[in-house]
C-alpha cells in the first residue's frame, strides 16, 4: 500500500471523513432496500448535499452510496422475494428459497459477508490494475459481448426446474419480451401494436418485481390461512458463514469476485449481468447443479460476491479512461465534473488525493456496509412479524409506488401484468428465473449479434475466427447440452436396469 493511500485512509478515519462515508453507506442501503430506488436515485438525491463539501469527501460519500445500494436490494430479495435493485435478481432465486426453509438469517449473513468480500476484492483490483485492465476491456468487441451473453443464457435449462423444455420456453419468452419496443439499431417499431407505452420496451425493474413479488403474493394467498410470515421467520438472526463454510466456498468467492470485477469493467454491462454470469458459472462448476435454485448458500454467495465486485470493476474505466462502466458510473462522472474534476488518466497525476480517497472510501464503505446492515436487517425483519395478510397489502402498495416513481403510471400496468403472468407460469411449472435472465441479457445479446454480423465477413462462421468468442460459444453449447444429455443418460440407465430386473 502506497503512502498517499495511507494518508487518504487516515483522513477518512477522522470524524470529518467518516461522517460522509456513514451517510453515504446508510443512504445506499436504504435506497437499495426500497424497490424502485437504486444507486442512481441515491446519488442524485444526495448530490446537492455535496456541493459545499471537499471534492474527496463528496466523492467518497457518493461512491459509498453506489457500493451499499448494490447490497441493499438483496435484503428484500431474500426476505420477501422483492429484488430491491436489478442486481439482486439472482439472489432472489436461492435466497428466498432459504427463507422458505427457515434459513433467512443465514442467507442474509452470507449475502452480507460475500458482498463485503466481493466489494473489497473489486476495489483491490481497481487499485492495483486499473489502467491495464481498462485497455484490455476496450478490445472486447461485439462478438465477444455476444458470446458472453450466450454463456449467461446457456444455464437456463438447469436453474431449479423439473422440465428443461419449460425452462427453455421461459427463456425464449424473456428474449422475446426484450425485443419489444423501438429497435435500437434501425429505429423500427417492433411489437408495439401502436401503443406508446411499449415504444421504450418492457420496463425491466417493474417487470421483475411483478414476476417475483406480486406473483408470490398471489401464490401465498392460495395457501391455507393462519400462516404468517412472522410465525415462521420472526426470530431471524443474522448468521455469518462459519469458517468451515467460508473455506469451502473460497474458490467460489474468488471466482465470483473476478467475474464480477471483469464484467464491471466492460462498458455498458452492469452488476445484474455480473450476478447472472457468476451464478451460472458456479452452478456449472458445482458437483450437484440440480440443487441450485432450491435454496443453497452458494446460490446466494456467488451473485452477491459478483455484483458487489462489479462496483470496483465499473470504477476502472471511469477513473483510468473517463469512460463509465455502468449507468451509475455515468452519473458519478457528473458528480466529478460538478466538483471541477475530470476523470481519466490525468486524474491520477493532477488529483491523486481524490483518487486515493475514493479507493480508501470504497474499502471502508464495504466494511461499514456489513456493519450497518445489521441495523437495516433488524428493522426489516421486524416487519416479518406482521401477519401475512397485512404484510402482503403493504408489499403491494410499496411495489406500486416504486413502479410509479420509476417511470410513471404505465410501469404499474407492467408490474401487475407480469405479476399475473408470473403466477400462472409458476402454477403450470414454468420457472421464472430464465425469463429474468433472458430479460437482462436479451437486449445486449441482440444488439451485439447484429453488430457482429455486420462486422463479420463470413457470417456466423466469422465468430469462430476470434479465439475468445469461439471458446465462449463452444463452452456455452456444452453447458447447455450437458444437463439434457445427463437426464437422457439417467433415463436410459433406468430403463436398462428395469429391463434387466
Amino acid at each position: 500500500m502506497s503512502s498517499p493511500f495511507l494518508t487518504a485512509l487516515m483522513s477518512i478515519c477522522r470524524l470529518s471523513g467518516l461522517l460522509p462515508l456513514l451517510v453515504g453507506t446508510m443512504a445506499g442501503l436504504i435506497v437499495g432496500v426500497v424497490p424502485g430506488l437504486g444507486s442512481i436515485q441515491g446519488i442524485v438525491l444526495l448530490l446537492p448535499l455535496t456541493y459545499a463539501m471537499d471534492p474527496d469527501k463528496a466523492l467518497v460519500m457518493l461512491t459509498a452510496i453506489y457500493c451499499a445500494s448494490v447490497f441493499g436490494g438483496s435484503i428484500t430479495a431474500i426476505l420477501f422475494r422483492i429484488p430491491g435493485t436489478e442486481s439482486s435478481v439472482m439472489t432472489t432465486i436461492d435466497g428466498y428459497e432459504l427463507t422458505q426453509k427457515g434459513y433467512a438469517g443465514k442467507a442474509i449473513g452470507t449475502a452480507m459477508l460475500c458482498s463485503g468480500i466481493g466489494g473489497i476484492i473489486g476495489v483491490l483490483i481497481l487499485q492495483l490494475l486499473a489502467p491495464q485492465l481498462a485497455q484490455i476491456a476496450l478490445k472486447f468487441g461485439p462478438p465477444e459481448y455476444f458470446a458472453l451473453c450466450v454463456l449467461g443464457l446457456s444455464c437456463v435449462s438447469s436453474v431449479g426446474t423439473q422440465s428443461q423444455l419449460k425452462a427453455v420456453i421461459s427463456a425464449l419468452l424473456g428474449l422475446f419480451l426484450a425485443t419489444i419496443g423501438i429497435d435500437p439499431i434501425s429505429g423500427a417499431d417492433r411489437f408495439t401494436f401502436g401503443l406508446n407505452l411499449l415504444k421504450s420496451g418492457v420496463p425491466f425493474t417493474p417487470a421483475i418485481i411483478g414476476l417475483f413479488a406480486i406473483s408470490e403474493i398471489l401464490k401465498q394467498i392460495d395457501k391455507p390461512a393462519g400462516r404468517t410470515v412472522g410465525s415462521q421467520y420472526a426470530r431471524v438472526k443474522v448468521q455469518f458463514l462459519t469458517l468451515a463454510e467460508l473455506v469451502r466456498m473460497k474458490w467460489l468467492i474468488l471466482r465470483s469476485s473476478l467475474i464480477g470485477t471483469w464484467i464491471g469493467i466492460l462498458p455498458g454491462v452492469g452488476a445484474s449481468t455480473a450476478a447472472v454470469i457468476a451464478y451460472n458459472q458456479e452452478m456449472r462448476l458445482s458437483k450437484d447443479p440440480s440443487k441450485w435454485g432450491t435454496g443453497i448458500l452458494e446460490g446466494v454467495a456467488a451473485p452477491e460476491t459478483s455484483n458487489n465486485a462489479s462496483v470496483g470493476g465499473a470504477m476502472v474505466p471511469l477513473l483510468s479512461l473517463g469512460i463509465p462502466g455502468s449507468s451509475t458510473a455515468a452519473v458519478l462522472i457528473g458528480a466529478f465534473l460538478i466538483h471541477g474534476l475530470r476523470p481519466g488518466p490525468l486524474l491520477f497525476m493532477t488529483n491523486p488525493d481524490v483518487v486515493y480517497s475514493i479507493f480508501a472510501g470504497m474499502y471502508m464503505a464495504n466494511i461499514l456496509m456489513v456493519l450497518l446492515s445489521f441495523v437495516i436487517v433488524r428493522l426489516v425483519v421486524r416487519i416479518l412479524a406482521v401477519p401475512y395478510s397485512t404484510l402482503s397489502s403493504v408489499i403491494i402498495v410499496i411495489c406500486v409506488s416504486g413502479a410509479i416513481v420509476l417511470g410513471g403510471f404505465s410501469n404499474v400496468w407492467t408490474l401487475i401484468v407480469f405479476g399475473i403472468v408470473g403466477f400462472f407460469m409458476s402454477n403450470y411449472g414454468f420457472p421464472l428465473s430464465p425469463v429474468v435472465i433472458a430479460l437482462v441479457l436479451g437486449p445486449m445479446l441482440e444488439a451485439n449479434l447484429r453488430r457482429a454480423l455486420v462486422m463479420s465477413q463470413h457470417g456466423f462462421l466469422g465468430f469462430f475466427t476470434r479465439p475468445i468468442t469461439a471458446v465462449l460459444l463452444i463452452a456455452s453449447f456444452l453447458y447447455f447440452i450437458a444437463p439434457i444429455l445427463n437426464r437422457w443418460r439417467r433415463r436410459r440407465m433406468g430403463k436398462e436396469t428395469t429391463t434387466e430386473a
Binding site: T179, A188, K223, P387, S393, S401, R450
Partner: protein, 167 residues
C-alpha cells in the same frame, strides 16, 4: 385436454402469428446486416418449435405440473381454507390500478388496502383501518417529500383533496 398440450399448442400458434408480425417490420434502407425482424423471428421460430415439442411430449394420463391447488384439496389436506382467492385479488388489483388515476394515490390506496384486508378475512378494526391509513400516509410523505417523486393526484374533487396534502 392436457394442460401442457393446450399451452404448447397455443404457444406454437401465437408464435406463428407473431412471426407473421415480425416479417412485416420494415427494413431501414440505411442499415446493413440483419433487419430488425431477424432476431424476433429466430426467437419466435424456436418458441414455436418448443411449443410443438411441449404439446407432443404432454402425456394425456399424467399431469407434469402441480396444478393450482383447489380449495377442496387444501381443506382436506391442511384442514384450513386458503387465505383468499387469487382471482378476487387479481380483480381487486386491476380495480386499484384503474382507480389510481381517478381517486389519486391517497384515497385509492387506502380503499384498496381496506378491501384487500377484508377479503383476506381481517376483521379487527386496528389492522383493517389504521394500517392502511398509516402505511399510505407514510409512503406518500416519503415519496413526495423525501424523493420528490410525483404520485397520482386524482381528478376533480379528489385532486383538490390530494393537493391539500401536497402543500
Amino acid at each position: 385436454m392436457n394442460t401442457d398440450r393446450m399451452i404448447g399448442t397455443s404457444l406454437a400458434l401465437l408464435s406463428a402469428l407473431l412471426i407473421a408480425v415480425a416479417q412485416r417490420i420494415p427494413r431501414m434502407s440505411f442499415t446493413r446486416g440483419p433487419s430488425a425482424g431477424f432476431w424476433p423471428t429466430v426467437i419466435l421460430t424456436m418458441m414455436s418449435i418448443c411449443g410443438i415439442a411441449l404439446a407432443l411430449s404432454a402425456d394425456k394420463g399424467k399431469q407434469t405440473h402441480a396444478p393450482a391447488s383447489s380449495k377442496g384439496d387444501l381443506r382436506t389436506q391442511k384442514g384450513a381454507l386458503p387465505l383468499g382467492s387469487p382471482g378476487v385479488c387479481i380483480i381487486l388489483l386491476l380495480l386499484y390500478l384503474a382507480s389510481l388515476q381517478v381517486l389519486g394515490f391517497l384515497l385509492a390506496t387506502v380503499v384498496f388496502q381496506v378491501l384487500y384486508l377484508y377479503i383476506l378475512r381481517v376483521r379487527r378494526a386496528g389492522p383493517l383501518l389504521f394500517t392502511p391509513v398509516l402505511v399510505t400516509i407514510a409512503l406518500f410523505f416519503f415519496f413526495t417529500r423525501v424523493v420528490y417523486a410525483p404520485l397520482p393526484r386524482g381528478m376533480g374533487i379528489f385532486r383538490t383533496l390530494s393537493m391539500l396534502l401536497y402543500q
